[in-house]
C-alpha cells in the first residue's frame, strides 16, 4: 500500500490526500468490478443470445424476452413473486408484535430475545428441511395438527393451492425474527422521555403505540421493509429445498425459475436464464433505487 512509497518522494507528499483514497479503494473496487459489475453487464449481454453453455452464443436479440412473455411458467413465477412480496411483508407487523412482547426488562429476557432470534441464524436450507418435515403428509406436525383440527390432511407442499403459502410461512419464520431484532433496537432508541410525556398526556396502550411509538419506529420499519422486499425477491433457497418449484411448477418463483432454466439438469438455456435474471434485476432495481434515494437524502441532511 502507500507505505511502500518512499516517504521522501515529494510528489507523493503533495498528492497523498488525493491519491490515498484510490489506493485504499483499489482492491475492493477490483473485486467488485470483476465479480459484480462486469457480470451484470455480461448477463444482460447473454440475455440477447441463445446459448447452452457448450457451443457458440447465437445472437437472437430480444428473442429470449419475447419467449418469456409467452411462457406460462414465467407468469406463474411472477404471480408467486408478487404473493411472496405481499405476504412476506407480514413479517414486519409480526416482528413488531414479537418485539413489543419481548421489550421488557425481566430476568433472562436477553436469553429469550436470542432464542427468538434463532430462526434467522439458521440456514434457509435447514429451515426448508424443518418445514418440509413439519408439513410432511401423514406424520408431519402440521399435518397431524390439521388432521386433529379439521379431520382432514392437507399435503401443503403437494397442493398447488397451498404450496406457495406453505413456503412463504417457512420464510416468514426467520424473516419475522429479523424484523423483530430491527424493531427491538428501534425501540431502544426511542427517547424514554417521549413515552413518559405521552403518558402524562394521558395516552395509553394501543393509542400510545399508534400515536407515539410507531411513528418513531419509522427508520426501523424502513429497513425492515427493504430487507423484507429484497429477501422476498431473492427467495431461492426455500423453494429449491422444499419443492424445487413443484408441484408441476406451481410454486415457481423468478429466482428459482432462472436457476432451473440456466443450470439445472433439464435446462442449460443460459440466455433464457439470463433474461429472467435481467427481469428480476429490473424489478429489484425499483426498490434499490428507492433505498438509495432515501439514503441520499440522509447523507445530504447529515
Amino acid at each position: 500500500m502507500s507505505n511502500t512509497v518512499s516517504p521522501s518522494s515529494s510528489f507523493w507528499k503533495k498528492n497523498q490526500q488525493k491519491l490515498a483514497p484510490w489506493l485504499f479503494l483499489a482492491p475492493g473496487i477490483l473485486m467488485f468490478v470483476i465479480y459484480v459489475l462486469v457480470p451484470i453487464v455480461q448477463s444482460i449481454w447473454i440475455s440477447f443470445h441463445d446459448w447452452d453453455g457448450l457451443g457458440e452464443k447465437v445472437w437472437i436479440g430480444l428473442g429470449n424476452y419475447v419467449e418469456l412473455l409467452d411462457d406460462d411458467t414465467f407468469y406463474v413465477a411472477l404471480k408467486n413473486n408478487l404473493i411472496w412480496l405481499v405476504l412476506y411483508l407480514l413479517s414486519i407487523p409480526a416482528g413488531l408484535a414479537v418485539a413489543l412482547f419481548l421489550n421488557q426488562t425481566v430476568t433472562g429476557i436477553r436469553l429469550y430475545k436470542s432464542l427468538f432470534f434463532f430462526p434467522f441464524v439458521i440456514s434457509q436450507v435447514v429451515v426448508g428441511l424443518m418445514f418440509t418435515w413439519f408439513y410432511a403428509p401423514d406424520f408431519g406436525l402440521f399435518s397431524k395438527l390439521m388432521e386433529w383440527v379439521t379431520g382432514e390432511q392437507i399435503a401443503v407442499l403437494a397442493d398447488e393451492r397451498y404450496v406457495t403459502y406453505g413456503i412463504i410461512v417457512a420464510g416468514l419464520w426467520p424473516q419475522t425474527a429479523y424484523c423483530m431484532i430491527l424493531y427491538l433496537t428501534g425501540l431502544n432508541t426511542i427517547n424514554p422521555e417521549q413515552v413518559e410525556a405521552a403518558r402524562m398526556d394521558g395516552a395509553k396502550g394501543f393509542r400510545l403505540l399508534w400515536n407515539i411509538i410507531l411513528p418513531q419506529l419509522g427508520p426501523a420499519t424502513f429497513i425492515a421493509m427493504v430487507v423484507t422486499v429484497i429477501g422476498s425477491l431473492r427467495s431461492f433457497d426455500l423453494v429449491s429445498v422444499m419443492t424445487a418449484g413443484g408441484p408441476y411448477g406451481s410454486s415457481q418463483v423468478l429466482s428459482y425459475f432462472m436457476y432451473e432454466q440456466a443450470l439445472s439438469e433439464y435446462g442449460f438455456r443460459m440466455g433464457y436464464g439470463a433474461a429472467i435474471a435481467v427481469v428480476l434485476f429490473l424489478i429489484m432495481m425499483v426498490f434499490i433505487s428507492l433505498f438509495i434515494v432515501r439514503m441520499l437524502r440522509q447523507e445530504r441532511s447529515a
Binding site: G53, D70, A155, A158, E160, G246
Partner: protein
Amino acid sequence: GEITINSDHSDPVPKKAMEELIADFQKANPDVTVKWNNFDHEGYKSAIRNFLTADAPDVVAWYAGNRMAPFVKAGLFEDVTDVWTANGLDEQLKSSAPSMTIDGKKWGMPYTYYQWGIYYRKDIFAEQGITPPKTWAELLAASEKLKAAGVTPFTIGTKALWPTAGWFDYLDLRVNGYEFHMDLTAGKIPYTDPRVKTVFEKWGELVKADYFIANHAAIDWQDAVPQLVQGKAAMYLMGNFAVATFKDGGLKEEQIGFLQFPEITPGIPVAEEAPTDTFHIPSGAKNKEDAKKFLAYLASPAVQAKMNATLGQLPVNNTTQKPKDVFLDAGFTILSNAHGLAQFYDRDAQAEMAKAGMEGFQEFMVKPDNLDRILERLEKIRARVYK
C-alpha cells in the same frame, strides 16, 4: 499411464460396484492407474458439462440415448466405434447398440440396464383372490377389488417428477406402440395428437378412480414405499432397483411379485423400458488409449457379470450368464423378448421437453381435468424445442 474417471456412483451399492470394478481393472492392467472422482448423483448432471468443456477426465459415466446427444453434437465425446468392432461388441451388446449410435458411430460403452414393471404384494393379491392381471381390463378389475377392500391399488411418489414418466412411457408403449413412442419423444408428433390423448384417457381411468395414493406430489419415490410395505397399497410401477428398498422396508422376497405391464391395445408388439448406464471417453481426454482399454474391459462378459451382480441389475452383454435373482431373471426374460427398448422419457426426450412433460404428467395425476390445457402447453414447448 493414468486415467481419470468421473462418475456419479455416490449411493452405497453403485459405489461398491465401482470400487470393485476399478480394483479388478487395475489388477488386470498393472500399468494403468485409475483416479476416480465420485460425484453426487444430482450434482453430476450439471457438473459433467463443466468438466467436459473445462478440464476433461479420461472416462465419464453418463446415459444412453438422447441424453448423450448434446455432448456428441457438441463434439465433446470421442467416437469409440473402433472399440466396439475390435471386440465384437456389435453382436454382444446388440440390444443397446441403437441407443449408443448417432450418425452411424458408437459414442460410448453400456454396462448395465434394468427392467421396469409392476411390483405387487403377492400376499395381498392372494388374500383378495386376485391373479396377476395380463390385460388392461384385468388390471382395472383388480384395482377395483383392491380399492373396495380398502387397499389403494398403486403407490407412487411424484415429487421428483420422473416416476410419472414411467407410467406415461408404459401407457404409450402399450397404447400406441414403440415406434409411436419413439417418434413422440423425438418430437415428431404433436402432443395434441388424439393418440396421445388416448394414452391420458387410459391413465385417467386410474387417476379418476383414485387408484393412486393421495398426496403423491409431496413425497419422493422412497417415501411411497412404506405404503406398499404396510399393505396400504398393493402395486408399484418401478424400476428393478426398488426391490432393494422394498426389502429394506421389511418385505420378504416371497411377498413381492413382479408382473409385466399389461397389454392395452391388443396386437401391438410389446416393448419395454430399460434405462441403460454407460461410460464415455471425452474428446478432451488426455489418455485415450488406456481409456479405451477401460471401456473394452468394461464390455467383457465376466466383468459385466460381476458388476451387475453387485448392482443387482442386468448386464448388457448378452453372452453373460443369466443372473440368479428371481426378479432379474424375470426382467432378463422380458427384455430379451422385447420388441424394443425405451430408455425412459427423460432420456429419450430432450431435457427441456422432458422437464415440461413430466410436470404435465404430475399435474395430470393431480388434476386430470386439466388435460387439454396441459397438452396444449406441452405442444407449445415441443414446437419450440424441436424447431
